[in-house]
């Protein structure tokens, strides 16, 4: 390269010398024919023609031209950008914001949809089996006996593994922690192709004898988190729920399980399921739909083929066991998003976000295009001069495009940086949930590629038009400064751009205000209990080795002491706090009604097990009957309290008190002693679900949450005394999920909040972008009209008149945009109507809000340039040109 450079220099001087030689000879000839020396030189130069053009033509032949031209264009572009830093900053910033938002969304899409799960062999072959019995509770769970039938009877999968989800307390002696773990069948790791980092993983031999394989496998993060990466852990015996388990090995780094929402720390053998789940054996009950199934497609078998084969098996199983499997339908989905359950809403949400972010990018691009147009018009005179001096049109277009490309690439780089930052923040963030989520969203090269493509296309698409327009100038008019006064009144391309931009911003703003309002409504909809002012701690006595009598004693004493704490109004125990992910439901059979033939027709109701004072503590209104009280003692009559939806739908609205129902037809039914108001128990979108409560004294639960309503003090401040009283009773008890109930429910409100937050952010972004767009174009328009305004003021126009004239043109642009945008919003609102809660899609208040915001932003963006217009000094304005 260096050598080339010298050779190039040499060539340049050679060419100069050669031309000089020619000129000298020419001049000499003229002199010898009697022309004066000075005159001769001038004449030869004139005769010679354009030296620069000649050199240019010759340089082209050296083959260096394109590279050199590029360098020159870049230098020129850089200089011209530095000359207008405001334009450059605004253009780069708006693109960076648009591209950053897009690249972030794209990273999320790439993580959850495009990229196979990390650490798995040929992840694209893996499928998640979803069993649905029709009805509302369609979740990707199936029973172990059904799993066994699918595993042994199919010919489309190379293997099918079964996964259960269990909480466990694990650690070295005296240092227990409650964690979520997976119980897996012996073929799990082999099927996924997961390799051990050290030791060995669970194998089919570890899943032979029920209860006979007290072994566990740690994931890399589990090993780091729970055992500090101790290299001697393999072969060691650790405590699991008070029992000794041997550590077999550690999985390779990067393996995070097969569900994005659940990164387990520990794997157990399925053989130990009963021991890990408080002695409840789910492996022989066809009605216990407690397991996930994950299979690998045989080579050459497509997901559709496998699905129809497995669905056929499902229909046979439904015929064979109508009671448990009636109406069974099997679908296959890629693993990672809790099968079909999470996949649909997540894809839906991501699709909406992607659409919105694309719209934002479009706004940013239109913004850039209108700025480029204004700038191109600004450089009209320069362009005209260069064209007049003989510059080729293509050369000018190339230079303009280079400049735009530079802006776009800078914007793309800024956007990529922004995306990296957002993703970093997202990955570092740990939602306050009891479940170990995988929220690592790494930025991969595709995101950069995406940003690069988007920015390049932006530059070419939105830069070409202004470039073409700029070079199509009528030279004479441009050089004479005439167009400035004659052309402005007509609509220019950039005016359409501003109108388009305003209308798109209105659309975005309208949709985000609508969705945010709807989310607020759904968040403030009654949940059937009063969330603020409640403190809670949870414990699981089984894991501390308690048996039932000791557990009952412990629970009684905790409740008794908690009620006496100063600052506590009421306290109660409940197995699950409503709206947390572990709330269970159960089938309900009402006495005196026929038992449905198909499993799918059996109604389900959420079931809670609670101590006396539960409803008083939660502030759930009692409609009739009584609350649980001292009458509900161990061994006492089986009673239950139901919600009014239960009474209305299952008991036909008649008097519910005294009616009886059961959850298991072989067991004694329970009598309804009270009816309470409706609420939400699992998620916020459910509509009046059924629920019932049973007394904890009668149905003992080893896992329970103490809930205390505080009087006049924040719930958090009571926690130390609650912890203290538990420690007094048994210092070895591990408490979890401690805090205010409000904090515990963060997860429930999280999707709605994140949706509101991101949509709100996009709406703001669109607003900022269109404000800069309006400002840019209006500022430009004023600078173009300097002469005209000068003349007007010189012949007696008042400042108010000038202001009005500037504001009028802005008002026309913004008004047109507003009308168009609101029209589009009306259409979009109809589309959004389905997902809105408690807000009409044509909500007039929302229209008014958006209208007001847009008008305010437009007025602000117009005000500065308009004020500048009134300050124009007529003398100076006229002299300037």
């Amino acid at each position: 390269m260096r050598w080339d450079f010298w050779r190039r220099q040499r060539r340049e001087t050679d060419l100069d010398d050669e031309i000089a030689h020619d000129l000298a000879l020419e001049a000499e000839e003229r002199i010898s024919s009697g022309v004066a020396p000075q005159e001769a030189e001038r004449a030869s130069r004139r005769d010679f023609g354009n030296v620069g053009l000649l050199k240019e033509g010759i340089r082209e032949m050296w083959g260096w031209a394109s590279l050199e031209r590029l360098g020159r264009d870049i230098r020129y572009g850089w200089r011209s950008l530095r000359k207008s830093p405001l334009f450059a900053t605004m253009a780069v910033l708006s693109l960076a914001l648009g591209i950053g938002a897009n690249a972030s969304i794209f990273s999320v899409i790439s993580t959850i949809l495009l990229r196979p799960l990390p650490g798995l062999e040929r992840g694209s072959e893996l499928v998640s089996l979803n069993e649905s019995l029709g009805g509302n509770n369609s979740i990707p769970l199936l029973s172990y006996p059904n799993y066994r039938d699918f595993r042994d009877g199919n010919s489309v999968l190379t293997g099918l593994a079964c996964i259960g989800f269990v909480p466990a307390s694990i650690g070295r002696k005296g240092d227990n922690q409650r964690i979520w773990a997976l119980t897996v069948t012996g073929n799990y790791f082999e099927l996924l192709g997961v390799k051990p980092l050290a030791g060995r993983l669970i194998q089919p031999e570890d899943d032979k004898v029920r209860g006979g394989h007290p072994v566990l496998v740690l994931t890399y993060t589990g090993w780091q988190k729970r055992f500090g990466g101790d290299p001697n852990i393999i072969g060691e015996k650790v405590q699991v729920n008070g029992r000794e388990f041997t550590v077999l090995g550690i999985t390779a780094q990067g393996f995070v399980g097969t569900e994005l929402i659940m990164a387990p720390d520990v794997y157990f053998s399925m053989a130990m399921q009963k021991e890990l789940q408080a002695g409840e054996d789910f492996q022989e009950r066809r009605s216990a739909r407690n397991f996930f199934a994950l299979g690998r497609l045989k080579p050459g078998v497509t997901m559709v083929q496998a699905e129809s084969a497995l669905d056929g098996m499902g229909r046979n199983l439904a015929r064979e066991y109508p009671q448990d499997n009636g109406g069974m339908k099997i679908t296959l989905t890629p693993p990672g998003l809790v099968g079909a359950l999470g996949r649909k809403p997540i894809i839906g949400f991501v699709a909406v976000m992607f659409g919105v972010s694309c719209l934002v990018l479009l706004v940013a691009c239109v913004n850039l295009a209108s700025m480029l147009l204004a700038r191109a018009a600004d450089k009209r005179k320069e362009t005209a001069i260069r064209l007049a001096l003989g510059a080729g049109r293509w050369v000018l277009i190339r230079q303009l495009l280079t400049e735009n490309l530079m802006v776009a690439l800078l914007g793309g780089a800024g956007g990529a940086l922004l995306a990296v930052w957002i993703m970093g923040a997202l990955s570092a963030w740990r939602p306050p949930v009891d479940i170990p989520l995988v929220v690592s969203v790494p930025v991969d090269f595709r995101v950069f590629l995406f940003a690069l493509v988007v920015s390049a296309v932006t530059a070419l698409l939105f830069g070409l038009l202004p470039a073409l327009q700029a070079t199509k100038t009528d030279l004479v008019a441009a050089l004479k400064n005439e167009a400035a006064t004659t052309r402005f009144r007509y609509w220019h391309l950039r005016d359409y751009m501003v109108a388009a931009q305003v209308s798109m911003s209105v659309l975005l703003l309208f949709c985000s205000v609508l969705v945010v309002k709807s989310l607020q409504r759904s968040l403030s909809a009654p949940v059937g209990f009063e969330i603020p002012g409640l403190a809670t701690v949870s414990f699981d006595l089984n894991m501390q080795g308690y048996d039932e009598p000791r557990g009952r004693e412990f629970e009684r004493r905790v409740l008794e002491k908690a009620r006496q704490l100063p600052g506590v109004e009421t306290a109660t125990l409940v197995d699950n706090i409503p709206l947390t992910p572990t709330v269970p439901w159960n089938a309900v059979y009402v006495e005196g009604k026929p038992v449905p033939k198909r499993a799918a027709e059996v109604p389900n109701a959420y079931v809670f097990t609670a101590s006396p004072d539960y409803f008083r503590t939660m502030r759930t209104r009692l409609i009739s009957g009584r609350e649980f009280d001292a009458r509900d003692k161990q061994g006492g009559p089986r009673v239950a309290i139901v919600n009014s939806a239960f009474a209305a739908r299952l008991l036909d609205g008649g008097n519910a008190l005294g009616r009886r129902f059961t959850t298991n037809t072989t067991k004694e039914p329970m009598e309804i002693v009270g009816v309470v108001e409706n609420g939400k128990y699992y998620n916020l979108t459910e509509q009046a679900p059924l629920a019932f409560w049973t007394p904890l004294e009668i149905w003992y639960k080893s896992k329970a949450s103490l809930v205390a309503r505080t009087r006049a003090i924040p719930p958090g401040s009571i926690l130390p005394s609650i912890r203290g009283l538990v420690r007094e009773i048994d210092p070895s008890i591990a408490l979890f999920a401690t805090g205010s109930v409000e904090d515990q429910l963060t997860w429930t409100f999280f999707p709605a909040r994140i949706a509101a937050l991101s949509l709100g952010a996009f709406g703001m972004l669109a607003l900022v972008l269109s404000a800069t767009g309006i400002y840019g174009v209006m500022a430009y328009a004023v600078s173009r009209r300097t002469r005209e305004i000068g003349i007007r003021m010189a012949i007696g126009a008042t400042q108010a008149q000038v202001l009005a004239s500037v504001a009028r043109s802005a008002a026309i642009l913004i008004g047109t945009g507003l009308v168009l945008g609101l029209g589009m919003a009306l259409g979009a609102g109809r589309l959004l109507g389905r997902i809105l809660f408690g807000v009409k899609p044509n909500d007039p208040l929302t229209f008014a809000i958006v209208f007001a915001i847009m008008l305010a932003v437009g007025a602000a963006a117009t005000f500065l340039p308009a004020r500048r217009a009134t300050r124009i000094d007529p003398m100076q304005a006229l002299r300037l040109e």
């Binding site: 050679d14 050669e18 030689h21 020619d22 020419e26 023609g49 053009l53 000649l54 033509g57 032949m61």
Partner: protein, 115 residues
């Protein structure tokens, strides 16, 4: 000798013929750019006036194609000048071009023959 010549007495060069004229001129020995221009003009009796804007690019183009080579030498007036010289490939090219040219002239003459 620069002479005032009216535009009517000039002939526009046919596309592609300038290269042939340059090669032909260099057949008589090495020459610098100005000399080539003058030689063409003189041998055409001032009918062909070669623009420098065409001449120099043509010279460089021929050099890039390897038909001529250049060398800096002292000129008759003891000035440093860039002399162009025909290469073997250039000679062959000239022969080929000449053949084609003769054929072209013959063809055009036939077509344009007075009826």
């Amino acid at each position: 000798m620069p002479k005032k010549t009216s535009s009517e007495s000039h002939i526009e060069l046919l596309q592609g013929t300038l290269d042939m004229l340059i090669l032909r001129t260099l057949q008589w020995g090495p020459q610098h750019g100005h000399g080539v221009g003058q030689a063409i003009r003189q041998s055409s009796v001032d009918l062909l006036l070669i623009e420098r804007g065409s001449l120099y690019p043509a010279l460089h183009r021929l050099e890039a194609r390897g038909l001529i080579v250049s060398e800096w030498k002292a000129s008759d007036l003891n000035r440093r000048a860039k002399y162009y010289r025909l290469t073997k490939a250039g000679r062959e090219q000239l022969v080929a071009e000449q053949g084609k040219w003769k054929l072209l002239v013959k063809a055009i003459t036939r077509v344009m023959r007075p009826a």
